[in-house]
């Protein structure tokens, strides 16, 4: 299924990563996580670890709970009133319910499926988070905005039109702007919720490049419907089905020798 060149690359990546993993600390520890929306249980008894400076891809068919799982990590689910959660999510051994929610969300940035620039200029979109966390100096602000836009591979395309409305950018540019906005507050973890679902292949490649680069600095959790994307960028891959974590392993193992039949079926495209 997976093409040989890609596969080889994967082995190289994960090979390099094997050594890193030893020194990598555990970022998230999740113990017996259960989540309900009203009467429906959408996450069932999930236990896992997410390590620093890794890309964890989360795959699974629709309604498998992967987005809910992701939004549990930065407590964004709590905007729903009928939401209930048991079990524990620990960020560096600290229960996330004990962390002030604004502080938690600053540490854990999120990029959404649809690019959603704020109704502000390009500059202000990036500066928004920086300002919010206390930076006021104009010069400092400009430096930081440029630096972050470069990180998101967007600077060259927008440097002459920073004061234009963010809505004038193309979809791919908007998504990279949202990534820049997220990076601007210096998070430790970045959650990507199907970040490329609305993008063309070239924009997708740019976003993926950026993600692979980011993991030097951040921990990344990527929810994706695109199994090939998981194979391309993920160090590890988790397969969710009906709210259960079926399997979590190194990406190449998930795609070449999965332990569970259901995982095998899904990555081979037999369902989902």
């Amino acid at each position: 299924m997976v093409n040989p060149v890609r596969n080889k690359k994967l082995e190289e990546t994960s090979g390099r990563n094997n050594q890193e993993t030893i020194s990598n600390g555990v970022k998230f520890e999740i113990h017996d996580l259960n989540i309900w929306f009203g009467p429906a249980q959408v996450i069932k008894h999930v236990n896992m670890e997410i390590r620093s400076n890794e890309i964890l891809s989360v795959i699974g068919p629709a309604n498998s709970g992967k987005t809910t799982f992701l939004r549990a990590l930065n407590r964004l689910n709590e905007l729903n009133t009928n939401y209930r959660i048991t079990g524990a999510i620990e960020l560096e051994r600290e229960d996330i319910r004990g962390i002030k929610v604004e502080e938690l969300r600053r540490k854990i940035g999120m990029v959404f499926a649809l690019p959603l620039p704020l109704p502000l200029s390009i500059f202000d979109n990036v500066a928004y988070g920086i300002r919010m966390h206390g930076e006021r100096g104009k010069k400092k602000l400009e430096e930081k905005v440029e630096e972050t836009l470069r990180q998101a591979y967007l600077w060259e395309e927008v440097k002459d039109r920073l004061s234009e409305s963010a809505f004038k950018l193309s979809g791919g540019q908007q998504q990279r702007l949202c990534i820049a906005r997220t990076l601007a507050v210096r998070p430790e973890v970045v959650l990507f919720d199907e970040p490329c679902s609305g993008l063309d292949p070239i924009s997708t490649a740019k976003v993926e490049d950026a993600m692979v680069k980011f993991k030097e600095k951040f921990t990344i959790v990527l929810v994706t419907n695109n199994v090939k994307q998981a194979a391309r960028v993920g160090d590890k891959t988790a397969f969710f089905l009906n709210g259960e974590l079926v399997e979590l392993d190194k990406t190449d193992r998930i795609f070449t020798a999965p332990q569970d039949k259901r995982t095998d079926g899904y990555v081979r495209g037999k369902f989902g």
Partner: protein
């Protein structure tokens, strides 16, 4: 047969559509014809900036500056009171209030809108006017301030319900985006929700002010109706609308007084029109 039916219906709708424009044009022409006649005896400058309104003295003095100032004073006061309270109320209802309280508040606001203005004016006359009189130690409570407070109540339902709609229709994703960046609830409201809803909020404010400028009955009852130059917000004033309403009945048709009242109508029309155009310009600039 079918074709004929289509044809008739189409033309009927066309007539309905044109009718509204036709009537507006007709009203405007009539207003102009009657109103401009006054300028044969008094210059437009003297009319607008004359400080004395003695329409039935001989010769009549037709300066409407006190009336314009009266209207502006009352409107400004009402705007200063109703805009912050109204927008704040809208934010509370749209963003903060728990679901059941939200329903109660919305029902309350709608009830406020349903009170006829004359009833509101009457209540103001027997409660608000004495209160203003004793609270500020004034010779009379029939002042511009009383009118402003009363009119603020009338503008509020318009401002609240339209601004609340505008806030409600801001996509939920904006809010999530801001929250995901670690914004607090208040930061989200004032840096994302309010700018995103600004068009609707400005429209709400303009409509509220439009209602205040056009209001006649309640202001006539509680502003004291003294057509003199107002020297403060604690003085009795008379508005443009109240003047027309109070004097049209006794003005002799075809007299200078009669034409002057129509000219006041033109001034009102221009003010309302200017408010709408400003709102429009502002709204389109934002986008």
């Amino acid at each position: 047969m079918r074709k004929l039916k289509e044809f008739i219906i189409e033309k009927l709708i066309l007539i309905c559509g044109l009718a509204s424009i036709f009537f507006v044009v007709l009203i405007f022409l009539f207003l102009l014809k009657e109103g401009l006649a006054v300028f044969s005896t008094v210059s437009p400058f003297k009319f607008l900036f004359g400080k004395n309104w003695y329409p039935i003295s001989d010769p009549p003095q037709l300066g409407i500056l006190p009336l314009i100032l009266g209207s502006l004073l009352v409107t400004l006061g009402a705007a200063i009171i109703s805009i912050p309270i109204g927008v704040g109320c809208a934010v509370y209802i749209a963003e903060v209030a728990p679901a059941n309280l939200k329903e109660i508040l919305k029902a309350g606001i709608e009830l406020l809108a349903a009170i006829p203005s004359v009833v509101l004016g009457f209540i103001g006359m027997v409660t608000l006017v004495p209160f203003v009189k004793t609270f500020f130690h004034l010779p009379t409570g029939l002042t511009a301030l009383s009118g402003s407070i009363m009119l603020a109540f009338m503008a509020m339902p318009t401002i609240v319900s339209i601004a609340e709609d505008a806030l409600y229709s801001v996509p939920k994703t904006y809010k999530e985006g801001a929250f995901a960046l670690g914004a607090t609830h208040w930061q989200t409201i004032h840096r994302v929700m309010l700018p995103a809803a600004s068009r609707g909020i400005v429209a709400a404010i303009m409509l509220g002010i439009g209602r205040v400028i056009g209001e006649t009955m309640a202001v006539m009852m509680i502003t004291g109706n003294a057509a003199v130059m107002p020297n403060s917000i604690f003085a009795p004033v008379r508005t443009l609308t109240a003047t027309i309403a109070a004097e049209m009945g006794e003005a002799v048709v075809g007299s200078e007084h009669y034409f002057a009242l129509f000219a006041i109508g033109i001034v009102l029309f221009i003010i309302s029109f200017a408010i709408n155009v400003t709102a429009d310009l502002f709204l389109h600039k934002r986008q």
